[in-house]
Structure formats: C-alpha cells, structure tokens
C-alpha cells in the first residue's frame, strides 16, 4: 500500500525548526511552484493528482472550491482500490471547507474569535485523522489523506509559535504512526509552504515540501511530477 499524507501549507523551515523527524523522513526537499501565478490550494492539488498544470481549467471553473477531477484523470486510476480522504479537486467536503472560509470572513467581520476559528479547523482535523487511519487498515492500493489545520490556523496565527509547534507535533505524530505501521511507501507532501505576514499572520509561500520513507533524490519536483513519481514507488 502507498500512503500519501497531504498537508496544506506544511512549511519546510518549520519542519526543521520544530524537529519533526517523521515528517522529514529519509529523503526530503522542496517543490517548484514557478509554473503557477499564485500558490492556490485547489490548483496545486489538482495538478498533483492529474500530472498536468491545471491552473487554467481550475480558474475557468465557476466555483474553484467545487472543482472536481474524474478518477480516470488522476493517478488514483492506476489503483484497483484507493481511498482519497477530503482531497481538494477530487473528494473535498465542500460544505466543511465553505464553513472554514465563512469563519475566516467572520473573523475579519469581528463575528468569530480566533479561538472559534481554530476550533472549526481542529474538529475537522480529528475527523479526517480518524478516517485516514481507518482507511490505512483497509484493503487499498493507495490511501491519501488531506489535512488543512496547519494552513487554516497558520493564516491567523503563524506568529504564535506555541500554536504552530503543537500542530507540527500533531502532524509529526501522524506521520510517525503511519511509518510505524510499515505498510509501504509513504509520501508526505504539501501544496505550498507558509511565510510570516507581519508579526501575527501567515501567507502562502512560493514552494512546497515533499518527503519519502526511502532514500531517493527527487530534486525539486513540480506538483504535476508526482503522478509519475507515485507510479514509480
């Protein structure tokens, strides 16, 4: 079984700073996002899944967050049985992620506190974590889980180190548990990283992160290179 741990906005410098050995694994590096006009979540994950730069088609669709690829248009089609949990551009829970964006708007409108906003992200995180581990026990050729708490919380609290450290520890624990299960190749991958905006906030940075539980030099792959990389694992 191949496991893909997709983490929105996982930032390479934070993985290092917080000493997340399970996230950095045996080989790791940065991804090249120079082919995109902005590091947009749905665009990058759709490119990752399909093996081509989907920026134009995603932006041309009338609702970017509702954009959906067919399984046959993704690397999932190479697997007889796969599980894709909350993956943007494929199986993302539209209502939940709308709730998250509404909470962000609510924060700016002073209707939602940062604690309430964080709680929405963390509750969802727990649900995805549960589904991810239950899928890893199942009979699948590939399981991909998508986790977005680091991105959501980071936008409003990237400068609050304790909060970010706790989230990185949590994701490192998840990676550690998957590694210990020893099911096969584990790819940890992010769409983009995060950089500080002022002393408190966070903005998407221009490069993402990848790691593998084997020694492999992938160089600086583009998101659309991973479909080929996954086929070779």
């Amino acid at each position: 079984m191949i496991a893909v741990l997709g983490i929105d906005a996982l930032e390479a410098s934070c993985v290092k700073k917080f000493g997340c050995r399970n996230l950095s694994q045996e080989s790791c590096g940065a991804t090249d996002l120079s082919g995109f006009s902005e590091p947009r979540t749905v665009v990058i994950w759709s490119s990752f899944l399909s093996g081509r730069n989907t920026e134009r088609e995603v932006l041309a669709s009338k609702d970017m967050w509702g954009f959906r690829l067919d399984a046959k248009d993704t690397f999932f089609s190479a697997f007889e049985r796969f599980s894709a949990i909350d993956v943007p551009g494929f199986s993302q829970d539209v209502a939940q992620h709308k709730r998250e964006r509404e909470a962000l708007k609510g924060f700016f409108g002073k209707k939602v506190t940062v604690e309430e906003y964080d709680a929405i992200a963390l509750e969802w995180h727990k649900k995805v974590r549960e589904e991810f581990f239950s899928a890893l026990e199942g009979d699948y050729g590939l399981v991909m889980g998508y986790f977005d708490a680091i991105d959501l919380v980071g936008h409003l609290s990237f400068g609050v180190e304790g909060k970010m450290r706790m989230l990185y520890d949590e994701m490192d624990g998840i990676a550690g548990k998957v590694r210990a299960m020893g099911k096969g190749p584990l790819l940890v991958v992010s769409d983009h990283g995060m950089k500080p905006l002022g002393s408190r906030y966070g903005d998407h940075s221009e490069s993402g992160f990848w790691s593998l539980n084997s020694r492999k030099d992938l160089g600086m792959p583009k998101p659309e290179d991973f479909a080929r990389i996954i086929a070779s694992l």
Binding site: H155, G162, K163, S199, R200, H204
Partner: protein, 71 residues
C-alpha cells in the same frame, strides 16, 4: 530528540497510568510529555493573544486571501 528522567510521586503515576488505559498513549512518559506540552502551549497562547492583530497586516492578509480565492 534527547530525553531526560524526571521523578513524580508513585501514587500520581499510578493514577495517570489508570487514566491512559484505552487512549492512544503508549507509555506514561508519552502521556506526561503531552500534558506538559499542553500546559506550556497554553501559557504561550496567553502570550500569543497579546500578539498584535495589526490593522495594516490584516488589510494585507485580506488582500492575499482574496487573491487566492479564500474570501
């Protein structure tokens, strides 16, 4: 990560051991580490609360989030 040993009363360790049954913690050390982290993080969070939500930064963030389709 390097580790060190700390001493806690036996009775407290016993209580904590009973409490971690059925949870995901694989050892008393893992549980105590978790609790200690929670305490330290909430102390940091209280500090974090005073970390300014500056108006100028907020305007810039809103602009960026709009550009990326979040809001």
């Amino acid at each position: 990560m390097a580790f060190t040993t700390v001493s806690i009363p036996k009775e407290l360790a016993g209580k904590a051991k009973r409490r971690i049954r059925g949870t995901g913690f694989h050892s008393l050390s893992a549980y105590v580490t978790y609790i200690l982290r929670q305490v330290l993080v909430s102390a940091e969070l209280r500090k974090g609360k005073t970390k300014a939500f500056s108006r100028e930064d907020e305007a810039e963030l809103r602009k960026r989030l709009k550009a990326m389709g979040y809001i």
